[in-house]
Symmetry: C2
Subunit: 480 residues, 2 copies
């Protein structure tokens, strides 16, 4: 559709950042918008997002969550009510000062997240313990000003979902925090084929206004970390400032216990940097807009008459298996067609030429490994779904091995620095728990605490930086 699809892709080892942009251009996923930092999500990129939404939305609803929609504009005074919250978000908000041809009496903030505006409603909706738990999600656009925008990873406007729940007890809220992180982990690992480490954020890295934040962290192919989802325990912080109270079973007024949790179009950036290669995008079958592309090959009208009916018949058969199939019969040589779909990361390419017709077979080419296989035409409906399953599995295993191979158990500060100088991946090490120490590590190496993994061996050891005793191992890495 556009010129970009004819350009070649920078190699990962030459310039990872340029490779990333080339993969996006080559697959026509997105482009920069005209207002600085904004993003246009093109149809192919949006189709991936729609698939993500569909799966996640069903998973949320399975846990009792309902969708709703809250306003884009937040009165400036709302944002200021929760002290940590405003401190965290004020520097990156966009402000509407004029509307309807007039200066507004109170400026409006374009939502950077919706805790405040949602709690304003919740304070009216909740009266009694019978109204709890209140489990609501919204799919929405969010604005956080970005000085150094990158498509999908950091854009001034992005799309996300944000869940906001209220519970009668602290325990119920904490269970929900964990439940939604588990949903994210399951989704990211099973659908996006991205292995993640689940854990808790350090206080420095937690959400502005939360008691604590849990997260899942993935490793990109440049060995940097990407936060793929967060689930926050808000405690009673917002409930107190927005007066979200309920009458408990004993007839007493109590503040509600709250959670919030979200994932965004950032996940698409993670997907790209986990699986794609020097030939372009690689999309896991379970989230792919197209499972297989059928390319009929012929050099004259006679061959076309032989090949096309078989190609059309195969497309119909595979659609009956619930697969999304494109039959690319454009009047172009095979090479450019192969090249285009390879860059779009379609999991399987099926070639059918005159020779295949003679053998009653087709050639199936896997996007993940490049392997070619001759398949009898009448076995395609059975074998193609199996290959897709295998691709899904292979992508997860390959990424899991990469994560494992590049996660290092480190005890000494010299070793830590050396690994980080070479951008060597994740470091698992004891940490004293001190924010000052955390900051010094960051200043010296650019590595931050990605999470305090839930899986701990209950041991203790010397902090990798300051030698004080630490009770928990944490994951350090450079991060997006």
């Amino acid at each position: 559709m556009s010129q970009s699809s004819e350009q070649s892709i920078t190699k990962r080892k030459d310039d990872f950042s340029k490779w990333y942009q080339d993969v996006i251009d080559g697959a026509q996923l997105a482009e920069h918008g005209s207002a600085k930092g904004t993003m246009v999500i093109r149809p192919y990129g949006y189709a991936i997002w729609e698939n993500m939404q569909k799966v996640l939305d069903a998973m949320f609803k399975e846990t009792g969550v309902q969708n709703a929609y809250f306003p884009l504009f937040i009165p400036e005074s709302f944002l200021k009510k929760e002290a940590d919250h405003v401190e965290g978000f004020a520097p990156e908000v966009a402000v509407v000062t004029h509307a309807g041809g007039k200066k507004l009496e109170e400026p409006l903030i374009v939502r950077p997240t919706s805790e405040t505006i949602i709690n304003d409603s919740y304070s009216r909706w909740i009266q009694s313990y019978r109204d709890l738990p209140l489990l609501i999600n919204q799919w929405a656009n969010i604005v956080r000003w970005e000085m150094r925008p990158r498509l999908f990873l950091r854009t001034t406007e992005f799309l996300w979902q944000e869940g906001h729940t209220v519970h009668a007890t602290k325990e119920d809220a904490e269970d929900r925090v964990q439940m939604m992180l588990d949903v994210y982990k399951k989704f990211v690992e099973e659908y996006l084929a991205m292995p993640v480490i689940a854990g808790r954020k350090s206080d420095t890295e937690k959400f502005a206004g939360a008691d604590f934040t849990t997260c899942i962290e993935a490793m990109m192919q440049d060995k940097k970390a990407l936060q793929a989802g967060t689930s926050h325990m808000l405690g009673q912080n917002f409930a107190k400032v927005f007066d979200v109270k309920f009458l408990n079973e004993d007839g007493e007024q109590e503040y509600g216990w709250q959670t919030s949790w979200g994932v965004s179009t950032r996940m698409i950036g993670g997907l790209i940097m986990t699986h794609s290669d020097d030939n372009g995008l690689v999309v896991p079958p379970k989230i792919a807009p197209t499972h297989a592309v059928i390319i009929p090959i012929f050099s004259d009208e006679k061959e076309k008459k032989q090949v096309m009916p078989v190609a059309e018949d195969l497309a119909e058969k595979l659609k009956l298996e619930d697969l999304k199939i494109i039959l690319d019969d454009r009047d172009m040589r095979p090479g450019p067609r192969f090249f285009e779909w390879e860059k779009k990361g379609v999991p399987i390419r099926i070639e059918i030429g005159p020779k295949d017709i003679k053998n009653n077979s087709v050639v199936a080419v896997r996007r993940d490994t490049g392997e070619k296989e001759n398949i009898k035409q009448d076995e395609c409906a059975k074998k193609i779904p199996n290959i897709l399953d295998d691709i899904q599995k292979n992508l997860f295993e390959k990424a899991s091995k990469f994560l494992k191979d590049n996660t290092h158990e480190v005890s000494y500060w010299d070793e830590f620095k050396k690994i980080m100088q070479n951008n060597g991946g994740f470091i698992s090490a004891y940490w004293c728990g001190n924010a000052k120490c955390e900051q010094e590590i960051k200043d010296e190496t650019k590595a931050t605490i990605r999470c305090i993994p839930f899986c701990q061996d209950n041991g203790s050891g010397k902090c990798v930086h300051c030698d004080k005793t630490g009770k928990q191992k944490v994951i350090f890495a450079k991060a997006y």
Copy 2:
């Protein structure tokens, strides 16, 4: 969930506008947001919107349309490029002047519609006739400043979809304009059970920047008109200012021919004002979040043990028929439960008490007519879907009769004024085609030309206002 559900509903004849607000409160569809003119769409209202989206989205895709997402923020200079467009929208836009802690060099407009920002992308995406037609839709939030907001009908922020297509010829574009209006008409009539009149807008009422606008117009129960959807022929107007050109088959550069079309959360307002009654909301089964609510009735534990298994069994059976069922076994007297679901407009209420258990039957109560029917338990899986079909049909027929009964063929100005004084509905009358005459009619009666219906008898007659000859009958009405 909230106190509002316990309040009673104003009668339509006493105060239609208050009745409308009461229906929304009673069904917990939406509420006003804290920033002036904004709207919170509550879970029950949003569930209706989700159902609308799901059906429409599938209908769009059936015609080859793909979804994408374009930025919320439009550089101010873009809006100014098309003269009519800026004149139409400038007075109602919201403007971001500050972001990231700084004053912006160029203010950003929060999109009031996306023709300009989308054409900026299209100018890069389209090179050749092979790239056409380009058929893209987005689901998005839109901001147009409202001085007198009303939930769903006029809100500062609303949700909608906007389709934007580019074609190689004028004919192709005009066909698409009509195709999408037909999609809207089919959706609104078959799913929302709202009969509409399809036609073209007068030049005064057309979209700012279009060659012409087509629309569907519905009649509310107060006999006022509601525009339920529009499909615009943009000609080459935006293509010329945004340089959307393509190389045609003869190797010449041409400007693309464009359309845009949209429906919004306003449709929910139309749905309410078409079908609801003095007891609250009425939702057509095809768009209802819940098809039937089962209310078990018992006065002690012994009766509960008899009734509950039957109620649970029935719920399961009906779910197998692809119906969305709620089993309301809350520890409350039947009356308040009946009252609550009635206000939410659930199409069928199924009561099961000890007497029904003895007779192996249930009582089914229709929301549209209030009719009660005893149904044998083992016939429910067959009969309940039939009743739902009948409700859908009945709602459409009732609204069609209302539209017909309140549409008047008028030839004389005195009669016109008299009907409009009494707010008598739609007037079908000849019009000279003169904008000045149109304005005088509006000034004198508040009635505007809702549309020039496609169905014309090819006759001609004297303009109802000025006596000049008019070639087309048009529909006049007061409108939302």
